[in-house]
Symmetry: C2
Subunit: 128 residues, 2 copies
């Protein structure tokens, strides 16, 4: 049960945190595996998943659910923002601000809680 006992700093967890800081965009477990393995060869996917869970519980990471894709994770604590997904390479990027005009009109009897906006297009790298 993470959060109760000790939390040790392993090379693997260090590599994972570093990958998020350097990437500066939400990463999927697969993307993370590639980036973290560049630092710690032999790092396993199971370790990726376990550390992600741990970092989410510690609120160092936040989950970013993407329509029709694998879950992504980003460093937690950021202001309200949305995301852009590149149709070319599939990478997710942060967008600043929120272009929503007003709270959306809901059917009678429905109650609003929150919203998520996803923008699609082509990223700079894929435009070349």
């Amino acid at each position: 049960m993470p959060g109760t006992g000790q939390t040790r700093n392993t090379r693997q967890k260090e590599a994972i945190r570093a990958a998020f800081v350097e990437a500066d965009r939400p990463l999927s477990p697969d993307e993370l595996l590639g980036l973290a393995q560049a630092r710690v060869g032999g790092l396993s996917l199971a370790t990726i998943y376990r550390n992600i869970s741990s970092l989410v519980e510690d609120r160092w990471l936040a989950e970013v659910a993407v329509p029709g894709g694998a879950m992504r994770y980003e460093v937690a604590g950021k202001a309200h923002h949305h995301h852009f997904q590149c149709r070319g390479c599939g990478t997710l990027h942060e967008l600043e601000g929120c272009e929503l005009r007003a709270k959306p009109k809901l059917p009678v009897g429905f109650e609003y809680a929150s919203h998520e906006l996803f923008v699609y297009g082509t990223c700079a790298a894929c435009m070349k």
Copy 2:
């Protein structure tokens, strides 16, 4: 290979189409199984998936990818709209119109193509 040979009208496919028309909201394969089995007992999940694929190819159904959830499908041919997901029961509902103020501002070098908005809250049935 659907689309090439004959397409036969089976009780199963009829039940599936009827379920979509009656539900009047996007359905997941699981939800669809329940609704369609009420009409044709013993209908299998494999048949659900195969008919969904077939109906999507025929453009009678459209895919609705949901963040962090199973794919949903809705009757195709509707105008630009977005979706509401109930935090209580997980059902997806159609929303009319679009509250987006303007095309979102993207980082330099990025190109806009489209967007999707998801609204969360509580549906009328779960408010009781």
